[in-house]
């Protein structure tokens, strides 16, 4: 590799690193999607033959390996990496008027550790026994004993844990960088309550990452010790696996669940909060109206973050917990509906009476709101311990989590991609292809996941490789087939996106510095921004982030850095 190539590859420029994160998550999402298509194919046609599988027909263990790897790749390397690290690393410094992140070298280190974690995870496919079968939650004792518990539980599971440990370190490093940058690197006049809501979302998300990934790191270390050094943190006494008494004594599988979900629930918000920030910004931008209730948006983001740490027990309602604990977790869980509903109310309030421009990024932001509501509402069902007793581990949960955490977050990523593409690459994406991509993906996502709720209500159990043997589910097999066809169609639609993305990078129409007539600071620099962002220009912020359609102003937007004297009437609300 040339010296210049290496310099660019190992760059400490936050914009280069942001793009590196973006491309890493594009590779990861493609991998994860292919795994899900294989799973969906097998669920619809369990006897169907697949050319690249030994024996032709997928075994239940191979199916579980796909489940594990799909979940892990999507949760960590897509939903944590793209909304937070890709767009946050690129746009946080620009939006607060900073020249760089606070710790440029740590920024680069975070990316390379994340990449290393991804490679270690993928390596699990290629070791003896293959990828682990214990799911993305890796519950012991299944995950704690080695290959005696199944194929993939030997080297594959060890690689999985090592990958997650590396990912934890990378995420914590990057979150420290985000928080320090937000606190210490803001341009003059950029008070906290003038920060764009995207910045607020990345900031709160970083705090969640800092506090929760450290706990997962500790849990992962304990699990690794149980597997490799014979300790008994999680593996209980007297355990007999395939006729052999295990030598472990007295550990608690529930302890893992507590530690894991203390991370795992905040993780849900780590995936979704950045999407909420982007949606808030876009709804305002494309309605040509200020965000309705900006302070409330900040308070609700924070409230969701705080509450997110107190509800992990709702993942464990069926673990035999005390009914009083269950009740507490249930009430706290349902209380998250309050800030969530307040946010939704404010989004609608932002749209109300606006001059709405249905551009592609706006469509995806609106799609985010729709899917967040649909997916969120089923969460209120699941928050009831009595209802959860029936729905736990069914496809109802799978449908819920995919809509609210997966699809909604991905819609946030698409919105961000279409919105910031002109800034990142200096070119504009094709609007017609973008709209086609939106409508087909929007319809496709609902087509896949709405029927899944019914399968769950009927008692369809998740993680089963083949429902066709269960008499009470045989009648629903056509539903599986429908979801699979919808999944393949929706996946095919993403080719439109990829085409649009790469073709526009090469030959899209050149972008102006501020193609959306937006107010925040990233639009004050050329597209793409120069390496030193604002150069020698001293950035001063005079007003809040969403000054759209201010009465009496010469234009329907006032950039944050525009001095009061140039707006014509001596200044607008600061």
């Amino acid at each position: 590799m040339s010296a210049r190539g290496a310099a660019r590859l190992f760059s400490t420029d936050h914009k280069v690193i942001g793009l590196q994160y973006l491309f890493l998550s594009l590779i990861a999402v493609t991998t994860g999607m292919i795994l899900s298509l294989l799973m969906r194919y097998h669920l619809a046609w369990p006897a169907g033959r697949l050319p690249f599988i030994t024996g032709g027909i997928m075994t239940p263990e191979q199916y579980l390996a796909l489940v594990t790897m799909h979940g892990t790749i999507m949760v960590f390397f897509v939903l944590t990496t793209a909304p937070q690290n890709a767009f946050g690393t690129y746009f946080l410094p620009l939006q607060i008027g900073a020249r760089e992140m606070a710790f440029p070298v740590l920024n680069m280190l975070g990316f390379w550790l994340t990449s290393a974690a991804f490679i270690v995870l993928l390596a699990a496919f290629f070791v003896q026994g293959g990828a682990p079968i214990s799911g993305w939650t890796a519950y012991p004792p299944l995950s704690g004993l080695g290959d005696i518990t199944g194929p993939g539980e030997g080297m594959g599971q060890t690689l999985w844990i090592v990958s997650i440990l590396i990912f934890c370190v990378a995420s914590v490093i990057s979150s420290i960088n985000f928080i320090a940058t937000t606190i210490e690197m803001r341009a003059s006049g950029m008070k906290m309550m003038r920060m764009p809501l995207t910045v607020w979302a990345w900031f709160i998300t970083s705090i969640l990452i800092l506090l929760s990934f450290s706990v997962l790191l500790a849990a992962g270390v304990l699990l690794l010790l149980d597997r490799s050094f014979g300790t008994s943190f999680f593996v209980p006494a007297g355990l007999v696996v395939t006729g052999q008494l295990q030598s472990h004594s007295g550990g608690s599988p529930l302890l893992w669940q507590h530690l894991f979900w203390f991370f795992g629930h905040p993780e849900v918000y780590i995936a979704i909060l950045p999407g909420m920030g982007v949606t808030s910004q876009l709804l305002s931008n494309f309605s040509r109206k200020p965000v309705f209730g900006y302070p409330a948006m900040v308070v609700t983001l924070s409230a969701i973050g705080v509450l997110g740490f107190s509800v992990w027990g709702h993942h464990m309602f069926v673990s035999g917990m005390s009914p009083y604990s269950g009740f507490t977790f249930s009430v706290l869980t349902m209380s998250i509906a309050v800030p969530s509903a307040a946010k939704t109310f404010n989004w609608i309030g932002t749209l109300w009476g606006g001059k709405i421009q249905f551009r592609t990024p706006m469509l995806f932001a609106l799609g985010f709101v729709s899917i967040f509501i649909t997916g969120g509402l089923s969460g209120i069902f699941l928050a009831q311990p009595a209802v959860d007793n029936m729905l736990h581990a069914t496809y109802f949960v799978v449908a819920h989590l995919h809509l609210v955490m997966g699809v909604a977050a991905i819609f946030g990523v698409f919105a961000a991609t279409y919105y910031w593409f002109p800034k990142m690459f200096g070119r504009v994406m094709n609007e017609t292809l973008g709209k086609l991509h939106f409508w087909l993906t929007f319809a496709g996502a609902y087509a896949i996941f709405v029927p899944m709720h019914f399968l769950g209500i009927a008692g369809g159990i998740r993680r089963y490789a083949d429902d066709s043997g269960a008499a009470y589910l045989v009648g629903l097999q056509p539903l599986h087939a429908f979801m699979t066809v919808a999944a393949f169609c929706t996946a095919a639609v993403q080719l439109i996106f990829f085409w649009n993305f790469f073709a526009s990078m090469k030959s899209g129409a050149p972008a102006t510095p501020n193609p959306w007539d937006a107010t925040t600071l990233e639009w004050a620099v050329p597209s793409p921004p120069p390496p030193d962002n604002f150069g020698s220009t001293k950035i001063t912020v005079y007003r809040g982030p969403y000054e759209y359609s201010v009465p009496g102003a010469p234009a329907d937007f006032i950039p944050q850095n525009l001095p009061p004297t140039t707006t014509g009437d001596g200044g607008f609300p600061a």
Binding site: F103, E184, S214, A218, G250, L255
Partner: protein
């Protein structure tokens, strides 16, 4: 100039890289401590839960080398004190005393680690190993995790003492090193107290 900033010329001419304000470093360090604290909190809570489950006589509490551990605790507190003294001399402009006390703090830190290692060997002498029993597992885990963090701290103290600084001014460098070092002293004190309470 180049080389050791502990020489008196370095103390007056060292400057920070432009663009990134010095205040990000203490902020970054305090955030790092937040992450480390959560890591140890997770281990502590795991221990409390796990201890509540130990009903088998095989899981009886182990007897720890209390005298040695108390000595180690004293060494670590002395090290923290020496580091503070060193920073006081730095502020007063007394480079020679600053250097002596900084080295003393580092040496006391190393002595603590040697003492901890000795405690491990005493346990080994009793036939108690990492996986022998949950108390032993957690003891080795707490002390091991703390020692790893402390080794990082010693590396930091040495780097600050021996290498020229690029991005950090001397005040920032000594300040963040001290924040980290005192934090590790407090973490050890918490571990030690927990062990005493669990006796």
């Amino acid at each position: 100039m180049s080389g050791n900033w502990m020489s008196s010329t370095a103390l007056t001419t060292e400057s920070a890289e432009p663009g990134i304000p010095q205040r990000v470093y203490p902020t970054g360090m305090i955030l790092t401590l937040g992450a480390i604290l959560m890591f140890f909190m997770a281990l502590f809570s795991a221990w409390v839960v796990r201890k509540g489950l130990s009903t088998s006589p095989l899981e009886a509490p182990i007897s720890l080398p209390w005298r040695l551990l108390s000595l180690n605790t004293a060494l670590l507190f002395a090290s923290s004190g020496a580091l503070e003294a060193s920073r006081r001399f730095l502020r007063a402009g007394d480079t020679a005393k600053f250097r002596i006390w900084w080295c003393a703090a580092t040496i006391l830190g190393v002595a603590f680690l040697v003492g901890q290692f000795e405690a491990w060997r005493e346990l080994e002498g009793q036939g108690i190993y990492f996986a022998s029993n949950p108390d032993a597992s957690f003891f080795f885990l707490f002390t091991g995790a703390h020692a790893l963090h402390l080794i990082g701290g010693i590396a930091g103290l040495l780097i600050i003492a021996l290498k020229p600084l690029r991005q950090l001014t001397r005040n920032t460098a000594t300040r963040i090193a001290a924040i980290y070092w005192h934090f590790l002293t407090l973490i050890w004190a918490s571990i030690f107290l927990l062990l005493i309470f669990a006796k």
